[in-house]
């Protein structure tokens, strides 16, 4: 039954199998170099980082003062915008090493116009100008701020529509992207 006549066939069979396996391996490797799901994972991490930073900024510093984020919204002046920029920029870009990260942001907040219930948006601060080419994610935080003023420039707040100080709820929105 057994003899050694078919050794060449054995080698040929093995070689054919190897060639086919290698072909399949290369073809599959070529088509799935980049998994689309991976982009969502980095987006998710960036969004979580931004949300956490906003939560940190909305924590009260002491029993007597409000959170930094609430104070910034309540009294949006040029210095407050810079305070937001410094604090938020430090929070999202700090790493364990000495070198900072390269995450850019653009922050604004939305509020309701009391006159016609329309949405208005107010710019806070940005590390870069938005060009439209960024692959940005959005992190948001609700803030209840005590605002006063009639919305004229130079006022203590830019949310118009009332004269006595009033509590208003605004949505702070930050776009984050790596650059």
């Amino acid at each position: 039954m057994k003899n050694s006549d078919g050794q060449l066939y054995t080698i040929e069979g093995l070689a054919a199998a190897l060639v086919m396996l290698l072909t399949a391996y290369f073809v599959i490797n070529a088509t799935s170099v980049y998994t689309a799901g991976d982009t969502h994972i980095t987006d998710m991490q960036l969004e979580a980082l931004g949300t956490d930073a906003l939560r940190v900024m909305d924590a009260n510093e002491s029993r007597l003062t409000g959170s930094p984020l609430r104070n910034i919204i309540s009294n949006v002046t040029f210095t407050d915008n810079q305070t937001f920029g410094t604090m938020f920029g430090n929070l999202i870009n700090s790493r364990t090493g000495a070198a900072a990260d390269h995450i850019q942001y653009s922050a604004s907040y939305s509020y309701r116009d009391l006159g016609d219930n329309s949405m208005k948006s107010m710019f806070i601060n940005a590390s870069r100008n938005l060009s439209g080419g960024e692959h940005a994610v959005r992190a948001t935080k609700w803030v209840i701020a005590n605002v006063k003023g009639d919305g004229l420039p130079g006022d203590s707040s830019y949310i118009p529509g009332f004269s006595p100080p009033q509590n208003r709820s605004v949505l702070v929105e930050v776009l984050l992207w790596r650059d």
């Binding site: 003899n3 006549d5 078919g6 060449l8 066939y9 054995t10 040929e12 069979g13 093995l14 054919a16 199998a17 086919m20 396996l21 399949a24 391996y25 599959i28 088509t31 799935s32 998994t35 689309a36 799901g37 991976d38 969502h40 994972i41 987006d43 998710m44 969004e47 979580a48 949300t51 939305s110 509020y111 309701r112 009391l114 219930n117 949405m119 992190a139 948001t140 935080k141 609700w142 803030v143 209840i144 009033q166 509590n167 208003r168 709820s169 605004v170 949505l171 929105e173």
Partner: protein, 124 residues
């Protein structure tokens, strides 16, 4: 192999068998790309942070209702309208109810079309 003898046909057959089995294995592995994408998408679409944040602001706003009803109604309206236009979510929260269990109950509701959240928050 026409001119040769046909002693080793089963070896060639085995070669084909192994190759095809690996081919179908590769098909299975190929599906992992799709699986990874849908998983990551469903994770990012689940509004965990939105619900937590909205819940927090609703509970905080009830404190306003204890001493300033005008501000409370303004803030309530702010949350509802901003949530609809900027977060694509319908939120609803009613005034507190004094329950039979001697606690205040605050019903709150969140729906963004995909995920629905309802909570009956109870005061101390």
């Amino acid at each position: 192999m026409a001119g040769l003898n046909d002693d080793a046909q089963w070896i060639v057959l085995m070669g084909f068998l192994v190759s095809f089995s690996f081919f179908f294995l590769a098909l299975v592995i190929n599906q992992s790309t799709v699986v990874g994408q849908t998983t990551a998408e469903s994770v990012i679409e689940f509004p965990k942070n939105d619900i937590r944040d909205t819940r927090e602001i609703m509970i905080r706003s009830w404190d306003l209702g204890n001493y300033n009803t005008v501000n409370y109604n303004t803030v309530k309206e702010d949350i509802k309208i901003i949530s609809k236009s900027r977060k694509n979510a319908v939120v609803k929260f009613d005034d507190r109810i004094w329950g039979n269990d001697m606690h205040f109950h605050y019903p709150l509701y969140y729906n963004n079309g995909v995920t629905e959240y309802y909570e009956n928050w109870t005061s101390l």
